[in-house]
Every structure is written in structure tokens, then in C-alpha cells.
């Protein structure tokens, strides 16, 4: 009883601290009061950064887009919050990061550092560079009442995950590759006219109405060297990248047969094997790259006849030559830029760790002098089209 008389006042005193931070009525927010940000964009401004944010679509209200400017990303975020109509911005659900081309060409390191160090963002959030544009413009002007920019980017992400020719590059991966190889790759998007008119407009509403719809589309890959965007790899050439990094998905290739007829093939799977060639003194001479690809015929025109073995062999040869060309072009680009964005150094190191360790230069510096021998083995598994055209 005596213990209880002394304990109760102590418990009552401590219970005041159990009410949470401040008062439950002053800093408690309903979920509906939070604006959930799903897309974040960074652009360079002299002396600072422009941060553009977009939420997802919310019923009939559309998505909310806002922007802030500051000396740092945090300052820009504070400004965006201060000058918005929203109670609180919730950025922990950010699914996509866009970086404008001028900002990427200047220096991507501050943005990647912010993403990796910020407690509100995931380090594995996908990063995209806006080819030929700014993140502000592409976020503010993309989409319509039915398709917000966040939904468009979700579609782009799903497209990249399921199809080939590109690969999602995340902030942590870009940071790690930049630290390890000095170079990295990043997905590029272009801000362009949509294939459909804005919601609510009829297809026949006129050219002006049709042109007002803008969207974000996959536009190849950006090469980052020393944290700066240096060049792009086009969408078709990105198939070569996919082979070299062993992330081959479904991708379409247009070829011409011996009779200069258009044939469309779909690469369903593929892989590559990279073996280094060393001389007796332990100097790296070059790389032997062997590719394997499996494809199907999806479309052919005119008098194509796939049932003839000689025609199928000729088509296979054309595919092999085309893939060798794509891979060769990417390798030449890597050598020319002295940028190991394909992580070839890692593959050489995996194969010959002791010899790699004793290289007298960095792998990037050795690239221009390396000889690349490319061998491709392709197989046409089947045709989705007819074996023989109608004409």
C-alpha cells in the first residue's frame, strides 16, 4: 500500500511524456493531409538547384505538381513545402528521380549523394536523365487528366523491366559503378509528343489539340563519366549494352535480307561471355567476346520464305552480323571515351584476379588499346509470322 502511494504519482508524472511529441492535436496529421510525392526532378540553376515534385493521380483531381528553388536540395524542398497549399509533403514514396540534361552534364554527384544519404528516399530508386530537356518541363507538362507524370513513369519502368534494350539503373547502382569504374550508365527519357491526344479530346479534334499531349518515352542510355553525362547510347544500340552486361530482355531488331526486304526479328534471350587475352608478360591485349542469341521472326514482307533452310541461314547470318555491329559500336564508344561504363574491368577481374591486380594502369585507361574479338552465335527458334508470305 505504501509502495502504491509513492508509485502512483511517479507513474502519473511519466504518463505526461506518453502523449507523444508535443500534443496529439497539434502535430498529428491525417493520411489525407499528406501529399504523397511519387516523382522528383532535379535541375541545375546558377547557385543552386530547382526541385520539381509530382504526386500520383488522386481521383478526379489529377496530380499535384510543385517546384522549389534553393541553394541545396533540402532548401529547395523547404521552399516547395512553404509555398504550396499542402500541409505536409511525404517524399518517402518517391518511385522515380528525373535529372535534367544540363544538370546531368554539369555534375550528378550532389543529387546522387542526396538520394543515398537522405533518410526519406530509398537508395534503389530508379534514376532517369531527360534527354534534351529539363526535369521541370517534363514533370510540369507531361500527362493529362487521366495520366499523371508518375503514372507515365510507372509505365516506363514496367516497360524497361519486361522488355529489352534497356535496363533500370538505380541511384545506388550508379553511385557504386561511378566509384568503382569511374563510369556508369543511366536510363534516358525524352520529353516528346504523345501518340494519343489528351484525355477528353477526340482524335479528330485538330492538330493543335493532338500536339498538346506530351509524354516521356524511353530514349536509350546516358553515359556518365566522373559524375557527368558525356554521351548517349541510342535505343537500338542499347541492345548491344544489354548483351554486354548480360541483361538481355525482349527486343526488336529490323534487318534486311539478301533481297533487301524488311524483316523484323524479336530477340527473346541472349547472353555474353567475356574472356581476357593476356600476353606472357601479364599485359592485357584484348577481350574475346562471344554472344549467344535466340530470336523469333515477328514480321516479314514480300516473297520471304522461311521454310527454305538457306533463307533461314542467311537471316541468322544477318542477325549475327547486326548484333556484332551493335556490340562493336558500344565497345568502340567505351574505348573512345576511356569510360568503362559496361563494367568490363569487373568481368576481367572475375576471370583473372591476380593479373588484373598487377595492371600498371586503370582499366579505363587501357580501353583504347584493347583489341575486341566478337563472335556471335544466333538461332532462330521459330516464327510468329507465316513461314511464307502471301505474295
Amino acid at each position: 500500500m505504501r509502495k502504491g502511494r509513492k508509485t502512483i504519482p511517479i507513474v502519473l508524472c511519466f504518463s505526461l511524456m506518453l502523449s507523444g511529441c508535443g500534443s496529439i492535436y497539434s502535430n498529428y496529421l491525417e493520411v489525407e493531409q499528406l501529399l504523397v510525392i511519387e516523382t522528383m526532378g532535379f535541375d541545375y540553376l546558377p547557385g543552386g538547384v530547382q526541385l520539381t515534385l509530382a504526386s500520383g493521380l488522386s481521383g478526379s483531381e489529377g496530380d499535384v505538381k510543385l517546384s522549389g528553388v534553393g541553394a541545396t536540395v533540402s532548401a529547395a524542398l523547404d521552399q516547395a513545402r512553404n509555398y504550396s497549399f499542402e500541409d505536409e509533403l511525404f517524399c518517402s514514396q518517391t518511385n522515380s528521380i528525373l535529372i535534367g540534361e544540363p544538370a546531368a552534364k554539369r555534375n550528378m554527384e550532389p543529387y546522387l549523394s542526396y538520394i543515398c544519404q537522405s533518410p526519406i528516399l530509398r537508395t534503389d530508386v530508379p534514376v532517369f536523365i531527360i534527354r534534351g530537356g529539363s526535369a521541370f518541363e517534363s514533370i510540369m507538362e507531361s500527362g493529362d487528366s487521366r495520366h499523371g507524370v508518375s503514372e507515365i513513369l510507372k509505365g516506363v519502368t514496367e516497360y524497361l523491366e519486361t522488355r529489352g534494350g534497356s535496363h533500370i539503373f538505380k541511384a545506388s547502382q550508379i553511385s557504386r559503378d561511378s566509384l568503382r569504374h569511374g563510369s556508369a550508365l543511366c536510363c534516358a527519357l525524352e520529353f516528346s509528343q504523345s501518340a494519343e491526344p489528351p484525355a477528353g479530346e477526340a482524335p479528330s479534334a485538330g492538330e493543335e489539340a493532338a500536339q498538346s499531349a506530351r509524354t516521356l518515352a524511353v530514349a536509350g542510355l546516358g553515359i556518365i563519366k566522373d559524375s557527368r553525362l558525356v554521351e548517349y547510347i541510342d535505343q537500338e544500340a542499347a541492345i548491344g549494352v544489354a548483351f554486354l552486361i548480360n541483361k538481355v530482355g525482349v527486343s526488336r531488331v529490323e534487318l534486311k535480307d539478301a533481297m533487301e526486304r524488311e524483316i523484323v526479328l524479336e530477340i527473346s534471350s541472349g547472353s555474353s561471355r567475356i574472356l581476357p587475352r593476356w600476353d606472357e608478360a601479364g599485359e592485357l591485349l584484348g577481350l574475346d567476346i562471344s554472344l549467344e542469341a535466340e530470336a523469333t521472326v515477328t514480321e516479314m514482307n514480300d516473297n520471304a520464305d522461311l521454310s527454305r533452310e538457306s533463307y533461314a541461314q542467311q537471316l541468322t547470318g544477318a542477325l549475327e552480323e547486326h548484333l556484332a555491329q551493335l556490340v562493336g559500336d558500344v565497345l568502340k564508344q567505351s574505348a573512345r571515351l576511356e569510360a568503362d561504363f559496361l563494367a568490363l574491368g569487373s568481368q576481367v577481374e572475375q576471370h583473372s584476379p591476380l593479373l588484373f591486380r598487377h595492371l600498371n594502369k586503370s582499366f579505363s585507361e587501357l580501353l583504347p588499346a584493347l583489341e575486341f574479338r566478337i563472335a556471335v552465335r544466333a538461332r532462330l527458334s521459330h516464327t510468329n509470322d507465316m513461314k511464307e508470305s502471301l505474295t
Binding site: S92, Q93, C116, Q117, P119, R122, T123, D124, S172, S175, R176, L179, R180, A343, S346, E349, Q350, P353, L354, R357
Partner: protein, 373 residues
């Protein structure tokens, strides 16, 4: 002895104690020293830790009754030098407790409350630790027995889901040239393992009912290092050693990225808050050990006899002073991030290794030579 406890309970205490410093030191520290081979530096520490367990076993074999390491130190060195050594150890435990208060507060701030002040968290956790230190050691040990499965269960769940993020090229290849870095990196794991054990056995009250102490200690060492090895492999495998050295809290960055069954994500706040239990156990144990040392120096009986919380007799006023000392040191030490980094990576681990590998073994050797133990 009325308020005694078992070895299994004490080893649970050591396991929970182990988690906070391990998470702070091991991933980034080993990545900086060992590079890609950081994940191997943890198993490299195992033979050294087993040797240390043998030393602790030999020391504790000299116990009389329910003595702990504190009483053994006093007997080994005699009244004068023994008290000096205990005074030094008491100060070290207070310093360590204050530092863990600070680093725990910084962890909460960097992961959940970026705009908050560290002082609030230092003060809250310090007061909680103080009230725990005013009670029986047995209560602390039994609390650890309850907390241990919860914290370890969450850790194992997180590490299991994180396995899918591991990339082979972040872990391999390894060459013999990484051996030196690996051995240097193993010091972090060794230091954390040593302090967890000697701090737990510092107290009196342990009842060994014919248990095989050395075997149990070795099993404990193997299990905690296995868990630490898994943790390090997941972190280095996911981020690579280059990025891991640049992340301030790589484990919680890993948790931030996890998605469970494509539905549940961003659970890092729950995981961080679970680590508060580990911090509480650690601070309380530091205060228990420090007050035990100082009360022995003053010649007071340090055994808990059911005293009330505000009773100051039998030297219990020392507990309040220790609490105040730990809180003040936590409030004022390492205010700048660079200073905290220095304390975290070099000063505290350095002093810990000196105490673990030089001071305590030295005391044991002196005690054996002088035939006092």
C-alpha cells in the same frame, strides 16, 4: 545469493549488448579497412575471439562464490592497485555508456528525425538506463532474455529478405592481397565481441550450476559472429564496399530498400525503434558495471539487496553520480560529425582493444603470478 541469474540469461544480455556497437562499427569500418574482403573479416575474428573466451573462462574459474570480474580484479591486484584498476574501468564504462548514448541518439536523428536535437534522446535514454541501474542486475539480465529473441528475430527476417539484393561482383573475387585488410577489419568484430563478454561478466550474481562455461562461451562467439558475418555479407553484397564506406548507416539504408512480398515497404522506422531496446540494455549494463566498480573502490557492498529506488545508503549515491556522468558525457561529447566519426572509428575501439587485450589479460597474469587467484 538472492538476486542471482543463470549463464543462459547472461549470454542473452551479451547478445543484445553486442548488436548496437556491431551495427555501428562493423559494416562501414570493415569496408574501409578491408575493401571487398570486408565480409570475410568477421570469420577471421573467430579464432581470436575463441582464444579470448578461453582467457575469460580461465579468469572466471578463479571465482569464489558469485564473484564477477570486478571482485577477481580486486583480489588479483590487491587493495591499492586493484582499486586503481577498478576506478579506471569504471571511468571507461561511463565513457563508453556516454558515447553509446550519443551515437544512439545520432542514429535516431539520421534515420527517422532529421530535424530533432540529440540532447532529448540522450537525456531520455540516460534516465531510463539510470532507473534500470538503480534496480537489480537480475532484472536487467532477465529483460535481455525477453528482448533478445525479438531483436534477433527481426534482424534475421531483414537479413533473409536482403539476400536477394546481394550481387556476386560486390563480394568476389578475392586475392591473398586482401588478407592484410581482412585481419585489420577483424579487429572491429573482435573488439565488439570482447567488450560484450567482459562487461557482462563484470557483475557478480552469476550462478553456474555445473555448466560447461567454455563450451557455452564458444557457442555464443560462433553464433554472434555468424550473424555478424551474414549482416556484413548482405550489406557489402548489396551496396559494394565503395558505397558502404560513404553511407552513415548502411544497415538502415538496406532496410529502407526492402520490400516484403511486394506490399510492405519503408519499415526502417520500426527496425530503428527496435534498436532502442539494445541501446537501453547497453546503457543500463554500462551504468551497472561502472557503479559496481566505483562502489568496490569505496569499499561498499555493491550487491543489490532490495533497496528502494531513492535510497542512497550503502553507496547507492554512486549510481546517481554514474548516471549523471554518462548523461553529461553523452550530451557534451563529439558534437561535430567529424569528431563523432573519430570517436566511433578510432578512439573508442582503440581504448576497448587496450582494455580487452592488454589490461584484463595483464591483470589475470599478475594475479596468477602473485598467487592471489
Amino acid at each position: 545469493m538472492k538476486y542471482s541469474y543463470k549463464l543462459r540469461q547472461l549470454l542473452s544480455l551479451a547478445s543484445v549488448f553486442f548488436l548496437s556497437p556491431a551495427l555501428r562499427l562493423v559494416p562501414s569500418g570493415t569496408a574501409e579497412l578491408a575493401g571487398r574482403a570486408a565480409w570475410l573479416s568477421v570469420p577471421v575474428a573467430l579464432p581470436f575471439l575463441i582464444i579470448y573466451m578461453y582467457f575469460i573462462f580461465c579468469f572466471l574459474k578463479r571465482r569464489q562464490g558469485h564473484e564477477g570480474l570486478a571482485e577477481l580484479i580486486l583480489r588479483s591486484l590487491g587493495k591499492v592497485w586493484g582499486r586503481l584498476a577498478l576506478g579506471f574501468l569504471g571511468l571507461w564504462f561511463l565513457l563508453y555508456g556516454g558515447f553509446m548514448l550519443r551515437s544512439g541518439a545520432v542514429r535516431i536523428i539520421t534515420t527517422i528525425y532529421p530535424n530533432a536535437s540529440a540532447l532529448l534522446f540522450v537525456l531520455s535514454m540516460g534516465l531510463l538506463g539510470l532507473f534500470a541501474a538503480l534496480g537489480a542486475e537480475r532484472s536487467l539480465v532477465r529483460s535481455a532474455r525477453i528482448i533478445c529473441p525479438a531483436v534477433l528475430g527481426v534482424l534475421i527476417l531483414v537479413l533473409s529478405f536482403a539476400l536477394v539484393t546481394v550481387r556476386r561482383d560486390n563480394l568476389l573475387p578475392l586475392t591473398v592481397f586482401e588478407a592484410e585488410g581482412c585481419i585489420k577489419g577483424s579487429l572491429a568484430s573482435l573488439g565488439v565481441g570482447c567488450i560484450s563478454i567482459y562487461m557482462c561478466f563484470f557483475l557478480n550474481g552469476l550462478e553456474l550450476d555445473g555448466e560447461r562455461l567454455f563450451t557455452r562461451l564458444c557457442l555464443w562467439a560462433v553464433s554472434v559472429l555468424l550473424l555478424l558475418f551474414w549482416l556484413n555479407t548482405d550489406i557489402i553484397g548489396a551496396f559494394g564496399h565503395e558505397l558502404t564506406t560513404r553511407l552513415s548507416q548502411p544497415f538502415f539504408a538496406l532496410v529502407r530498400n526492402l520490400v516484403f512480398f511486394r506490399s510492405l515497404e519503408r519499415v526502417e522506422a520500426l527496425v530503428v525503434s527496435l534498436w532502442i531496446f539494445s541501446d537501453f540494455i547497453l546503457i543500463s549494463l554500462c551504468l551497472h558495471a561502472a557503479q559496481h566498480a566505483f562502489r568496490l573502490v569505496l569499499g561498499c557492498q555493491s550487491e543489490y539487496r532490495g533497496e528502494r529506488i531513492f535510497e542512497l545508503g550503502h553507496g547507492r549515491w554512486v549510481i546517481w553520480l554514474c548516471g549523471l556522468g554518462a548523461i553529461l558525457s553523452g550530451c557534451f561529447m563529439a558534437g561535430e560529425p567529424e569528431t563523432l566519426e573519430f570517436w566511433s572509428r578510432q578512439l573508442i575501439p582503440g581504448i576497448n582493444l587496450l582494455v580487452s587485450l592488454l589490461l584484463l589479460p595483464g591483470i589475470y597474469i599478475i594475479g596468477r603470478l602473485r598467487k592471489r587467484i
